[in-house]
Amino acid sequence: MGILSVITFLPLLGALAILFIPKEQVKAIRATGILAALASLAASLYALTSYDPGSMAMTGLPIQFVEKFSWIPSFNIHYHMGVDGLSFPIVLLTTFLCFLAAVYSIGIKERVKEFYFWYLVLEVGMLGVFCALDMFLFYMFWELTLVPMYFLIGVWGGPKKEFAAIKFFLFTLFGSVFMLLGILALYFQTSPHTFDMLEMMSAAASGAFPREFQIIVFLAFWLGLAVKVPAFPFHTWLPLAHVEAPTPVSVILAGVLLKMGVYGILRISFSILPAGYEWFLPYMAVIAFINIVYGALCAMAQTDMKKMVAYSSINHMGYCLLGMVAVSATGFNGAVLQMINHGLITGALFFLVGVIYDRAHTRDITAFGGLGARVPVYAGLMAMTCFASLGLPGLAGFVSEFLCFLGAFDKWKLFTILSVSGILVTAAFFLRMLQKVFLGPLNEKWKDLPDMDLRELVSVVPLAVLMLAFGIWPRWVLDLMNPTMTVMAKMFPGMFALVR
């Protein structure tokens, strides 16, 4: 069994173990859950030591840790796992965030057993999506994330949890069933019929898919992937789901689940359907612009901190889209780095919002004031995360946003210039929030507010450290992905022949 299967299925082992622990033994359940997530993280870090970012990139995608077994020969389906510079950083992000959120989940008091069970199953699904190189397997894992998320939002969520849960489920499923049809169409178009992504890529490179076919299938995939990104106009489930979900689940939703969409666009839509991708580029540029500006403006209009962070996610995923329309190594690097950074930063933001909500039972920006002196550690971490999110140089967010804009400017000058205004709005709403919550006279109501405890620090501080580290020396991440991105950007030399 290869290392990727170990990383992916360790949480499943934990989930099954939890089923056998009596529900009264809450501590044992928590320990098992956290240990399973930790084991998966350790395995992924172990894989990092032997990961080789570049040397194979001369001949094609540097796919590593490959596992390939025949699974359903009747449909030529394989259990095919492997990672390259596109997926491996996201796998690391996933195991890392899942561990931190598992620690934070100690705060969950009700129905702990079920919580950790669903939580670990969710982790399996997410990791599988990023490792799978067979379309069928990919789809299985993709759907596997739906059900646990439905329960995690629906049982442990806020006041409108049931509606948020089913809306999330139906929205995502609506998109993904069209993706399934797209997968089937690709299967029957290849000869011999295959679900293997790498074989599909070489089929695409040899022109096996006509342009019209690619456009239709691209749209089918877009429905599935854009819902997850979420790209305008499929974003409406996001604010609801993020706000209603319990804190650790919001972190996973924003930190990892959204990345499945962007990852899918790069891995499938771009690599297998280049002509469809090329045809869609102008529209994608418009959508990126709308996501950036509209997301930021919506965030500006919120008084609920969690809702504000949720809308800021839409804005940040817009940067990813902008990086992808560049179709250059710079843009792709920016997009993938932005995914990682957004995972770290927005994950931290959701943790921090959860911290204050647990204490004050409100997230209304206007209900606070002058907390900076009362809870200095919290205020410091919050300020730093907000600065990272709004793109302050020296912190992680700046680097990736800069790369996205730099890449896109080459080909889409108008939309890039328009999108820059989004940064301005982002800065405005974060600064306004900081000002209202932490500055000014102390609101007497909160004079006894305690600062962060150990559990919360363990969850947030590692993220803050990485934000700073990646802001100063982004090459730690970029070196992992750059060779892959360079190969991908050169994969289809004819790109832009038609749209320009």
């Binding site: 529900k23 699974w71 359903i72 020969p73 009747s74 449909f75 057993k113 079920e114 789809y139 299985m140 759907e143 596997l144 739906l146 059900v147 439905y150 329960f151 629906g154 049982v155 949890k161 049931e162 089913i166 489920f169 139906l170 499923l173 609506f174 069933v177 069209f178 399934l180 049809l181 089937l184 169409a185 299967y187 029957f188």
Partner: protein, 487 residues
């Protein structure tokens, strides 16, 4: 044919004969057993069905002796596959019946068992039949025993109401079916389906086509295709729940089996230009089934509409009629046994104490976490969410549609799966999100637990490792006679 002669291929029907004899014997024995010992009769029926199921293995082992073409019937891999489904369902339904009620409340357990066995015999003959009269007779055998089974709870008004509705619809559709046969006989002078195709000549005569349409009505009633489905919710709601389980699986599979034999093989619907008609029927069935299910508050009715919708999905394989479609139909029918058996068994375990309104499921996860997780997996399987078996079934059906370029059919089907998630998750919502009315744990009897274990195993194993089952479906797509003479 002169004098008395033994029809050709009578030996092929040994399982059917055995079961019929057993059923009649049970009816007689019923007179001598009081209610307390009545469960022994059910157990006897259960064993008989099990033995018959085992005897099918003979037919697989020695195809030259036990498979072949009879006078009015054909025992081929396709028929055997459906017979296995029917008998498997019968076995489990009888198991459920034993635990359904305490012995003191049983009424005529022997007759009940006999009726279940007789309708199973009818279905087994149905999937083998190659002659319209044979089809009609077996359909009637199934229908009449089912009418009585639905109305078995004599004192329960709903049960009687369901039985009456079922009977009226059934009688009506039988009449139309016979009428159709008379048209076909009028047009071609034979009811033997193997002889019909060579007679079609240049193009099918109008009278023949009308006859075929009438046949569709008869089949549609059994499969519960829209618009012949109106009896379904009432009959399902009124019937004792083991009977509901039975009705939702076996007759549907059997009728689909005979439809596949008639319209995919002997007189292919592609030659009759009826492919679009069936595609429209499929879309109507799943859409109406799903959209109506959303508004149900009674579990039995909800599952009734869900089973209508499920029939619509299965029809996709019948519509496309390619090899992949046939495999999809068989695979889905096979998977459907496990998942539907599962949901109904959980519904029985919960509903026996608390009634069949959705509120009975409130907070089930705190009363019995295992039961609610099992229910969730059956529901997700029905909705076609991986990694459960239902997904594999839908996957092969959708693949068949995509392969033949039936895009609108595939799109309608996937959209329907999305809709279905809403009401399947409604049950999950009651189980996991609502607070229980009592914290008293739900207990399951041993046979119920066994049925659940089998169903769960099926749903998970086929979902994760479908290859042997796909291969089995692949091998079971053969019809006899292998080639029907062309005009």
């Amino acid at each position: 044919m002169q004098g008395l002669s033994i029809p050709q291929g009578l030996n092929l029907l040994i399982p059917e004969f055995g079961l019929s004899v057993m059923a009649l014997a049970l009816m007689v024995l019923d007179l001598f057993f009081d209610a307390k010992r009545g469960k022994a009769l059910m157990a006897l029926g259960f064993v008989a069905a099990g033995v018959a199921l085992g005897s099918l293995g003979l037919a697989y082992n020695a195809p030259e002796a036990y498979q072949g073409l009879g006078a009015l019937w054909a025992v081929d891999p396709m028929a055997l596959f459906f017979k296995a489904i029917i008998l498997g369902t019968t076995v489990f339904v009888l198991m459920l019946s034993i635990d359904y009620k305490p012995a003191s409340e049983l009424r005529h357990p022997g007759s009940f068992t006999a009726l279940v066995l007789l309708s199973a015999v009818g279905m087994m003959l149905l999937v083998s039949a190659t002659d319209l009269l044979m089809i009609f007779l077996s359909l009637e055998l199934v229908s009449i025993s089912s009418f009585i089974l639905v109305g078995y709870e004599r004192r329960d008004l709903k049960s009687s109401e369901g039985a009456i509705k079922y009977f009226l619809f059934g009688a009506f559709s039988s009449a139309i079916f016979v009428y159709g046969i008379s048209f076909i006989y009028g047009a071609l002078g034979t009811t033997h389906l193997i002889d019909i195709r060579p007679l079609l000549g240049e193009g099918p005569a109008l009278m023949f086509l009308v006859g075929c349409l009438f046949l569709v009505v008869g089949f549609g009633f059994k499969v519960s295709l829209v618009p012949f489905h109106f009896w379904v919710p009432d009959a399902y709601e009124g019937a004792p729940i083991p009977v509901t389980t039975y009705l939702s699986i076996a007759p549907k599979a059997a009728a689909l089996g005979v439809m596949a034999r008639v319209f995919n093989h002997l007189i292919p619907h592609t030659q009759l230009d009826m492919q679009t008609l069936f595609a429209v029927l499929a879309v109507a069935t799943m859409t109406v089934g799903n959209l109506t299910a959303i508004f149900q508050t009674n579990v039995k009715r909800l599952l009734a509409y869900s089973s209508i919708a499920q029939a619509g999905y299965m029809l996709i394989g019948f519509v496309t009629a390619n090899q992949l479609g046939r495999e999809g139909l068989l695979l889905y029918a096979f998977v459907y046994v496990f998942m539907n058996l599962g949901v109904f068994t959980v519904a029985m375990a919960v509903g026996n104490e608390d009634g069949y309104e959705l509120e009975a499921f409130d907070g089930l996860c705190r009363r019995n976490l295992g039961l609610s997780l099992l229910m969730a997996s059956f529901l997700l399987s029905l909705a076609g969410i991986p990694p459960f078996a239902g997904f594999i079934g839908k996957f092969s059906l959708f693949a068949a549609a995509v392969k033949d370029g039936f895009w609108w059919l595939a799109v309608a089907a996937v959209l329907n799966s999305v809709v279905s998630v809403y009401y399947y998750m409604k049950i999950a919502y009651h189980m996991f999100f609502r607070n229980p009315r009592t914290l008293e744990p739900v207990r399951t009897e041993i046979l119920v637990t066994g049925t659940l274990a089998v169903a769960a195993l099926g749903v998970v194993v086929i979902g994760l490792y479908p290859e042997p089952f796909i291969a089995m479906a692949h091998l079971s797509t053969e019809f006899l006679p292998v080639s029907v003479p062309l005009p």
